[in-house]
């Protein structure tokens, strides 16, 4: 068994050495280095395109997905080795997307074989870029209060309403969305989970400017949008099951996946690089405490990933989301303090990153909602 893994490691290393273009080995992790894919994607260079194609052909854009759907069917142990080998050579991720992180897992769990065949391979190849349509204006933490209507008309839904906080909706090809298909049912019971092509007439988007100056989110409007009922995932009016599954998944992802927590700059290096930073006793003490907690959080993410191999993490993912995002905010507050006046100019980029982290504890369920989930479902407190 260990031998097999050792062999896998050697093969993987050799393949990566042979196939990863040198431009893709710079370890870059910022927004600029991400390949999101999609119909309108413009590759930053030929190497980016080549790297995506080679990895997709190998099934390694989504290593643990079944081969039938564009993956490589790797075990968790193999996947870990692949990640380690990529990291040790500084290889960029060939593709990142909400299709990989969110829709893929939901389809693997709830989709029909036909749906999986139709949607998963284009995600794996980076051909279709997805966005997520959950939140609505005014709903906030009360995600189940979906107002966007999908009225049945023959084989179609006619969708009307508005979503908000749809990440990169202006750049996405398709959206997976929660819509209300039964207005008379209790609020969790009349929701369906449907897939909509963003080019369908009646879909429009408007970017939201954030305090960081960036606009990674949009408002998305649906005005008599007709979409086939076959594009529903899961049963009609049972979309909340899909949503809950995805929410748990999203929490795990935000807490540390996608390069979030662990992909950030290591604290020691970040501070050591700053003139005078660590000579300040108060800041140093804060940094030391932050490093301790960061290391423990990283181990916790590892532990939960180990656990996820055999059992559902379930509600405890709320802890990962809560603690991971609060820690990330703390790291960036600390970074701003250490960098002092140098970080107060837009051109440095630090401030943008810092302000971006403030959304960590809001998006995908606020810290307050996470704590309430832990309180009720993990600790069994009343309420």
């Amino acid at each position: 068994m260990d031998d097999e893994l050792d062999n896998f490691r050697l093969e993987t290393r050799a393949w990566l050495e042979a196939n990863c273009p040198s431009e893709m080995r710079d370890g870059a992790k910022g927004e600029d280095a991400i390949c999101w894919g999609g119909r309108n994607w413009v590759f930053s260079c030929e190497a980016q395109k080549l790297w995506l194609e080679r990895m997709a052909a190998k099934g390694w854009t989504v290593p643990t997905w079944p081969q039938a759907y564009g993956g490589a069917g790797l075990t968790r142990a193999q996947d870990k080795i692949l990640t380690e080998e990529m990291q040790s050579m500084g290889a960029r991720l060939p593709l990142q997307s909400f299709g990989i992180w969110m829709l893929g897992p939901a389809l693997l769990h709830f989709g029909t074989h036909e749906q999986k065949l139709a949607y998963l391979p284009p995600i794996a190849r980076g051909e279709i870029r997805w966005c997520q349509g959950y939140s609505e204006p005014g709903a906030g933490s009360d995600l189940a209060s979906v107002q966007t209507r999908a009225d049945i008309d023959g084989d179609s839904y006619v969708v009307n309403g508005q979503k908000v906080w749809t990440s990169y909706a202006d750049k996405a090809d398709w959206i997976f969305a929660l819509v209300r298909t039964d207005r008379d049912a209790p609020k969790h019971k009349g929701i369906s989970f449907i897939l909509i092509d963003m080019t369908t007439p009646g879909v429009s988007t408007r970017p939201i400017r954030l305090i960081s100056g960036q606009s990674p989110f949009c408002e998305t409007f649906f005005d008599d949008v007709r979409t086939p009922r076959a594009q529903r995932v899961g049963e009609e009016n049972r979309g909340w099951d899909v949503a809950k599954y995805l929410l748990n998944h999203e929490r795990e992802m935000i807490s540390g996946g996608g390069g979030g927590l662990l992909g950030g700059r290591p604290l020691g290096a970040m501070l050591a690089a700053t003139e005078g930073g660590l000579t300040d006793a108060t800041l140093r003490a804060e940094a030391v405490a932050c490093e301790v907690d960061t290391l423990a959080m990283a181990l916790t993410l590892e532990r939960y990933k180990d656990q996820a191999e055999t059992t559902e993490i379930g509600d405890a993912s709320a802890m990962l989301k809560y603690a991971g995002t609060e820690l990330n905010k703390r790291r960036y507050e600390l970074m701003m303090k250490v960098r002092g006046a140098d970080a107060l100019r837009w051109d440095e980029g630090d401030a943008e990153d810092w302000l971006r982290t403030k959304a960590n504890s809001i998006e995908g369920g606020t810290s307050e909602v996470m704590l309430s989930i832990i309180s009720r479902r993990v600790l069994g407190l009343p309420g």
């Binding site: 507050e333 998006e363 704590l371």
Partner: protein, 369 residues
């Protein structure tokens, strides 16, 4: 020495509030930013007309000479709506520095501050952290005068100031120069600051200065500069407290109005307790602010009182904006909503004139740690 505001101070605050809510709400700063501007000369002219530019200028030089507690009252009100003006750099710091020097040039300068014809900036810092002792900009002796070479950063209001107080290293210590910003050899580089206010980097390339350009005495900058810094730090702390109070008020207002799960989110006890904790922090910080103003006005050494105020104000303002954004949820993250302006201003103010560590450490040393 009572820590309660006097009736005069309460009246001054009310007047300021009324004026600023009308003339300089946050939307005014937003408008400046969207127009690519960092300050509004017309607004400053109105503030000058109300006597605020002369708040620390002696009556003999046309000022109102109201003292540091009064300056703090004004700064606090300005902080509430994030007013962008040269009040701190010019009316508080430069005026206090100039008052330490009882000569004709200084008196003329004070008169010009009071009547709004002069705007000052302070060029002190050279690195990411405030620390006047680490000044490296050289003022070499050159005949009867000096030649200044080096660079300054984070010069707030430096982009539109007429004059700049420059801290430089001379043979026997530090010397403070009072120079026109258009003096030959001075280059300004505008920086896009996150709080949408003005701050520049200044480059000094063999800039000539005469003995008359020295404010106070050669090798003795701190006699003039220390009181100015204390005054500025106290007023900045007051401003940050106004910022925190308004951020809290916005948040409490939102908690009452915003509904989730069918009830106002302010009915959720976890948020209630956090808001109550934040209010407690603002109350405690207010005491330190009031105290700093009183001690400055008493003429006693104000180092401890001022550093206590700035340290507390820095922590409180940051807590207020962090809780403010979080409790507003998604809307708090949008540029369309004002809370982001508060968060960015709090960050800049946290660094300006010494961060929490700088001031807490000064408190500790004075308390015998």
């Amino acid at each position: 020495m009572s820590l309660l505001p006097t009736e005069d101070e309460i009246m001054l605050a009310d007047t300021a509030r009324g004026f600023l809510d009308a003339a300089a709400p946050v939307s005014h700063l937003r408008g400046l930013r969207d127009a690519g501007m960092t300050h509004d000369p017309a607004l400053w002219a109105e503030m000058v007309a109300m006597g605020w530019a002369g708040v620390l200028v002696p009556e003999a030089q046309g000022g109102a000479d109201m003292g540091h507690a009064a300056a703090g009252v004004l700064a606090r009100e300005m902080g509430q709506t994030l007013v962008s003006s040269p009040f701190l750099s010019t009316a508080v710091m430069a005026a206090t520095a100039l008052r330490q020097v009882a000569n004709t040039r200084a008196n003329d300068a004070l008169r010009q501050i009071a009547d709004g014809t002069r705007i000052y900036a302070l060029a002190l810092d050279e690195a990411a952290k405030h620390d006047p002792a680490k000044t490296e900009l050289q003022a070499e002796a050159d005949g009867n005068g000096f030649r200044l070479t080096g660079a300054k950063t984070f010069v707030v209001d430096g982009g539109f100031a007429d004059r700049v107080l420059v801290l430089a290293r001379t043979t026997g210590g530090l010397t403070l120069f009072d120079l026109p910003t258009d003096r030959k050899g001075i280059t300004r580089k505008t920086q896009a600051m996150i709080d949408s206010r003005d701050a520049v980097d200044l480059d000094f390339d063999a800039v000539s200065a005469t003995g008359d350009d020295v404010l106070g005495h050669v090798d003795d900058a701190m006699t003039v500069l220390a009181p100015a810094l204390h005054a500025g730090q106290a007023a900045l702390a007051a401003e940050m407290t106004g910022l925190a109070a308004r951020a809290l008020a916005m948040t409490v207002g939102y908690l009452k109005e915003r509904k989730q799960f069918g009830v106002p989110i302010g009915a959720f006890q976890a948020l209630q307790h956090r808001a109550a904790h934040l209010w407690s922090e603002t109350e405690i910080t207010s005491s330190a602010i009031l105290n700093a103003g009183r001690v400055l006005d008493s003429g006693d050494d104000a180092t401890l009182a001022v550093s206590l105020a700035k340290a507390r104000a820095t922590q409180t303002a940051q807590l207020a904006v962090q809780e403010g954004v979080q409790m507003h949820g998604g809307i708090g993250m949008t540029d369309a909503f004002d809370m982001g302006f508060y968060m960015k201003r709090a960050r800049v103010s946290a660094e300006w004139l010494g961060d929490y560590s700088y001031h807490a450490e000064r408190v500790a040393r004075l308390r015998g740690f």
